[in-house]
């Protein structure tokens, strides 16, 4: 009985997705008919061939590769550095007191604002782009992981201690696993910060990249490939979220969902 109702819901969830997709396509179609909106929103029949156009121009795969490399490198560096910084902040209050205000300060400045500074220091190309994404993902993730560590249930640490755990065991067997859900949340936020920073990052004189291409196509009012690239950015985001979802399900199945 229970099983069938569950199954029914799965189907209708997918159906809803389909309905939502159709509604969006319909809206898009109507926008493409408008005189002014049509210039920004050409319909599928123009956007899909744009992929081939960009492949022929030798840009499509290069752009994707370049952007993914920037996000992966920037995010990777952000992840590796935010973990120890978050733990240090949680462990030593002076470190937290000194670093935290600045993370909060810089975090609220749009990356586009200080992107030129990176160019002045590191020149043009991928290097400043990666560093910019590094900074943004680092700030988001270090704060999230720090919050996770300080919110660990103190009773668990007490329980471990009375059961004979030393400091090392408490760190590896209690604090680390208890922080995993927060680390995954941090990864989620970090990836999204990385993608949103991509446009700013590729404004630093990149030779290729999705963000750089959207800019240059906008300058020549070439909207079908531009729209295609914007949608591509959304699809990459969706795929990354799905990957994080799968990892989350694997690692935190034990977690109580509220």
């Amino acid at each position: 009985m229970n099983k069938t109702t569950k199954k029914k819901r799965v189907i209708s969830d997918k159906l809803w997705l389909l309905i939502s997709l159709c509604a969006a396509l319909l809206l898009w179609y109507f926008l493409s008919l408008g005189k002014t909106t049509g210039r920004s929103f050409p319909f599928l029949d123009k956007v899909i061939p744009a992929i081939q156009t960009m492949i022929d121009r030798g840009a499509f795969w290069k752009d994707i590769k370049s952007s993914l490399l920037c996000v992966a490198a920037g995010f990777g560096l952000g992840f590796i550095t935010s973990l120890p910084v978050a733990f240090l902040m949680a462990w030593y209050t002076p470190i937290q007191k000194i670093i935290m205000p600045w993370i909060n300060f810089i975090r609220n400045i749009p990356a586009l604002g200080y992107a030129p500074l990176m160019v002045i220091i590191f020149g043009v190309g991928q290097k400043p782009a990666i560093i910019l994404i590094w900074i943004c993902t680092f700030m988001t993730m270090s704060i999230t992981i720090y919050q996770g560590i300080v919110n660990i249930d103190a009773t668990l640490i007490k329980a471990a201690r009375v059961l004979g755990a030393n400091d090392l065991a408490i760190f590896f067997k209690v604090i680390c696993p208890a922080t995993v859900p927060y680390i995954i949340t941090a990864v989620r936020l970090g990836l999204s910060a990385g993608l949103t920073t991509l446009l700013a990052a590729e404004s630093t004189g990149a030779q290729a990249g999705i963000g750089m291409r959207i800019r240059s196509l906008a300058n020549s009012f070439d909207s079908p490939p531009m729209l295609m690239y914007i949608i591509l950015l959304g699809i990459i985001g969706l795929i990354l979220v799905k990957i994080v979802d799968i990892i989350e399900r694997k690692l935190t199945a034990w977690q109580e969902k509220i």
Partner: protein, 262 residues
Amino acid sequence: MAGENLTKLKIDNVYKEYQGRNGKTIALNGVSLDIKENEFICVVGPSGCGKSTLLNIIAGLLEPTSGTVTLDGKVIEGTGVERGVVFQQYALFPWRTVLKNVMFPLEMKKVPKAEAEAIARKYIKSVGLEGFEKSYPKELSGGMKQRVAIARAYAADPEVLLLDEPFGALDAQTRVQLQSELLETWEKEKKTCFFITHDVDEAVILAQRVIIMSARPGRIKKIVDIDIPYPRTQATKTDPRFLELKSEIWNQVYQEFLEVRK
């Protein structure tokens, strides 16, 4: 030769104050108590009387401002596996299965895995959770979680078991059931038990001696011997002697409760 009258745990003039924002608060004002080996002690008192503070000091999670706690003649310092604790909030590790939770203290002792698993399974069975070894805490009810916590405390093989209102968060039926189970376990595998509760019924059915604490600053107000023989069951609760002791203790606790309200 484990003499029944041997002092296991000696609490000697323990004084504890907290430095708060509004000056200092005295939580415990000179508490002394001798607890015999394998004795079952219950502590009752109004909230804020320092009973949890006392338990945390015995566990080694808090340090007394002055005074000492000695176990087998040695002054305790910090936590130790010979003093197990069962918390009201269960404190199970949510990322570990029931089996892995109970195995935790054995892992800490570096007991070989196969042996540790056998010991853990034995205690899981003894609290009636056979078949739930692979379950995660989130899949268990409150009563089952506390059973796991008790099994885990037993697996560490402590000499003294400190229980901080362990059944306080459970519904009435589950609480009664767990009381009976705890008594059975204690009679099978004797340990010195130091059990905190605010439930007078619970104290009288479990304990050999009930310690009544006074409102802040916490002091021992009265010690009542519960001269009802074991094994005790739920039927004991209709015994005239049980009712007599219960009302005597209840009156004392109620007076303290009124003190707090003043």
